[in-house]
Subunit: 349 residues, 4 copies
């Protein structure tokens, strides 16, 4: 083990290792006035919901949850009965990283499709779309994608439109795990609505936590009727905050003066900067296109170990020595340089 040096202030482990954006913390402090009714029946929550409508248009239903797992699982539950199936990438967060929460809570089977650069396609979906009407088979009901993907890539608009089209033609819904939808929309130069509703998405988990808020996620139903019993699903799903105002104002801040885009664009830019730096280092291979705020690199295992002595980060595909480095709203150019230097040094031996 190399000697452990003092840890730097900011790592590249994950955008959820970052703290709270100052505008968000301010919003919390400003909402800390007197009493308001709990569980969402308060003016802060109403105002935040209106903000969502400004961005996504009328006719939607919006509900706040505590975290991404809650948003994903309950969003899927709203669309399914327990004998349904959810089709997703074999690297999807809902498939790999939620400790079986979707299966436990919805009762549904998740059917993994072999991803291509983190994405799935109508062609892949078609291959597992079978057994419809056969009582022995789970019934395909939802296609779920992650935007931006778990591999740091971004679905192009026509790719999402294609998946939505296939889903709808076959009586299915398109669900988007948008833990990093802001990074995707920023990367594509789209509005939030253009990046989701206008492409045929039915339900969106709108991420906040990875884009600078303290904690919270929103489930957005573009056809409000789909969310008609979500109040009950959320409460029974243990995701109803009593002091809802403090989640609501975080989203209000995120959707005000385009903080969501400013933060996401910055994180994306830092990822591109990091990519540029590490591409110069021999023995470092960039595995997937850097299209959002993550850089996925393959490098010799001893080098990985050396870097980890200073910086915490996650292996992504351990057996292939692929690691993930994420940038966030507060990553600085100096952070990038220092990290790239640490990588270069580790690779040199």
């Amino acid at each position: 083990m190399p000697q452990v040096l003092a840890r730097p202030l900011r790592s590249f482990a994950s955008d959820n290792n970052a703290g709270i954006h100052p505008e968000v913390l301010d919003a919390i402090a400003r909402a800390n006035q007197g009493h308001v009714v709990a569980y969402g029946d308060d003016p802060y929550t109403r105002s935040a919901v209106e903000k969502f409508k400004e961005h996504f248009g009328e006719g939607i239903e919006v509900f706040f949850t505590f975290n991404g797992t809650g948003a994903n699982v309950l969003g899927l539950q709203a669309l399914t009965r327990p004998y349904h199936a959810v089709l997703c990438s074999d690297f999807a967060h809902i498939y790999c990283d939620e400790c079986g929460a979707p299966e436990k809570h919805t009762g549904c089977k998740l059917i993994p499709l072999p991803h291509q650069d983190g994405k799935i396609t109508p062609e892949l979906v078609r291959r597992v779309y079978h057994g419809i009407g056969d009582q022995h088979h789970v019934q395909a009901r939802v296609v779920s994608i992650t935007q931006s993907t778990e591999m740091g890539t971004v679905y192009q608009p026509e790719e999402i439109r294609g998946l939505a089209g296939f889903a709808h033609e076959h009586g299915m819904f398109l669900h988007v795990d948008g833990a990093r939808i802001a990074n995707a929309a920023a990367a594509l130069g789209q509005t939030l609505r253009q990046a989701t509703r206008d492409l045929g998405v039915d339900v969106l988990s709108f991420g906040g936590t990875k884009n600078g808020i303290m904690g919270g996620e929103a489930v957005v139903f573009f056809d409000g009727a789909l969310g008609e019993d979500f109040l009950f699903l959320r409460k029974q799903g243990m995701q109803l905050a009593s002091k809802m105002r403090f989640i609501a104002v975080q989203f209000e801040a995120l959707l005000t003066n385009d903080l969501w885009r400013r933060s996401a664009e910055h994180a994306n830019r830092m990822a591109r900067a990091l990519e540029a730096e590490v591409r110069r280092i021999p023995q470092v291979r960039i595995v997937w296109k850097v299209e959002a705020n993550g850089v996925f690199a393959q490098l010799p295992r001893p080098a990985i170990e050396k870097i980890k002595a200073r910086y915490f980060f996650y292996p992504w595909i351990e057996e292939e020595n692929i690691v993930r480095w994420m940038c966030s709203f507060d990553t600085t150019e100096d952070d990038v340089k220092a990290f790239a230097e640490a990588v270069a040094e580790a690779v040199r031996g």
Copy 2:
């Protein structure tokens, strides 16, 4: 409908209608420095867990969740298999107010016992303790009580000891929904440990949200072995916060310089003050002993309607015209007086 006047800054609807105690908000702001590892593997969380050990002693396991429903349900799940039963008061929050979350998530049946002033007794538990070993019956496994109770009363230490004794003699556990355990301990002049672990409690939902934090609850296993797989239950139960430090520091603040006690004692005192005020009003009957931070009153329905035009609060037993008024850490004596006056005025007609 009477004319709606401007709403006062603070209501008596619930202690969760209050905001964040300044010491707690400060702690959040102070923790907003750089990056730390997510999901609880960070120094803030470790420090907060140590704080719990200072209060409750060694050998415990502590886990933070988002809310009380999560703490209760997952604490119960840790103690049960789906064919077990949880015995509780027919007015217990877990029975009445969690939209069936305990049943849905644990699979267990909750068996309601007719409460006496919000409490249950070994005698009542004994009556439904049957069918043990009979495959047709759910198997009694947990006795769950709320301290302080949903009726604002407080179990005496010997009452809890009696329930714990009965539970343990019959192969059951004693679970405490401690959303307001601070109010109970303060009322009894006990330490947190004296109020729980020392009485034989096995698992505690330690409440924060109703005692001045922004959001969060802790599950405390006094026999750490009971929590050995709780990490998985919590994640699968959708209650794992990624930016855990911001929940942890709230509890750290609550357990520092006895903030928990200062806030709870204040709220309790305000409730007694409110009781004293409204006892003077003819036609207002105090229904249960005011032992913690709630006042439960019976008064004529027209008076209730009039008060509600100015103050939001909850009916408790609607058909009997019993309502609930709660005090919180930020209730002031002026608030109490103004409210009592509104009540008096409403009763006068």
Copy 3:
């Protein structure tokens, strides 16, 4: 312990302690010819379904399950989402005797109502019909009754019509656990349709096992649309028989030449005979009206113990020394006399 005498051939423990009616066993043997398609897509099953339509009318959907628990639980699941509530008697089989299967499988809460002679009323239902639209409360969705009841009584037609009316006016369904619906219809001199569909029942668990078949139950949806995804619920609910023909032909036999009525009437008559015999015995009190095939008696505990040395039967309310004696399709007058004599002897001491 008194000396154990040789056990008689037939007991009064339960109608499911009896074997298979010869006409039913014949039907099984006759169907044992060659191969047919599994899982219900066979001519025997189609024919049995047609038989149900002869009795209950057109527009229904009928599905066979393995047992009453399966029929009840899956019938309820077809009507609910997990945040719903099922209202039933506190002595209902689904509440007391299915080891929590309804809660585990549907996720719903079962709300017990204090029964009156085994029955519930619209008035009792009304008392727990609250919290509608409130996200903290489970939403009342189904009223479930047992006909004939767990106390051997029989709902009068107007009582069921009243419950159906209340349910439908309040957006609920009426479910009937008809494990002994044949005994009730026979007692009332009604056809099966008159006893159920014509009174407003929505879903019926049609019992076979307690009326002389080897094993099987049917779920009957009087509005076929309610059963539209039942094929999937049944398979996922582990209640799909592969050699379905052998369940189907049992029901075909039961519904042919009124075997259902002949068997039920006989069992009812034997119960009345038993009642007449034991009414003559001092110290035996008949607890509920003998309206179907069960006699519920209160008698001194030592006498109970003595009878049990020869005959197996179940305590019904143990602490009150109330026991249950059931008659079945094969109970004989001699059986009744011998048993009554054993009771008389035991009471004499």
Copy 4:
């Protein structure tokens, strides 16, 4: 569509399309004497359990269920908590053909491994055995195999021993879906014990329905302690038969005078005969080794359609024109010849 000819008496669709073996039906008829206690507390059930001990040895626990789905799902539930994972072939019956029952009922994720001739290997298991101790990942707990496999092949003893070894070294259990364990043991010339317990299997679903009984399956725990709460799991899992004797005697018959082996050997022999016949037909390719009672053949789609006009059977991998033909205890040599002729004729065009 070709003209539909009269259907032959016996098909090759599935061994569960066959009826009841005469020795089994006799056993049912013989047990139809008087009353016995329900739910398994009867001499017939005790005797059948003893029969299992004769075959499998002492120290086991045996429970009867209604069907294979019930046996598999509840056997797995006994070994798991909901955050566990079950590793199995991507063609496993539990993965493909139970409409999501395992996920719905156990809460666990099933992780599919790419099968090789219907089998999985320790090497394949090792690849997905990761994330142990990581709260985000389901925890691998059970390896489940099907013997004989869904492709008609048979695991060799050392293959099962290898899987059991890997499982036990890694804190997992080995579960066998033995819907056709009799065919495997017969093929290998092993006793039932040699084919399971002696190889390190922990829990077995012992199949009856596909080997000539009317309906029923048994869960066998070789370490009885694993089944210690199975009575409750079974009842709550809706798999407890009230007239248990009629399931028990079917197994008694199956285990008497080696009926299980006689029937399985016959079915295996018929499959080999069918293989021999169809191997002579040009354009018919045998896809997997014929080691038990199934023949899997690839042939031109028009030929498949022609054969199906006379014989019902299932496509196995539809897009590759692979079909399944199963033999059963009552398949005759004439059946085989007639079917082979129909195939030959269809292929000729």
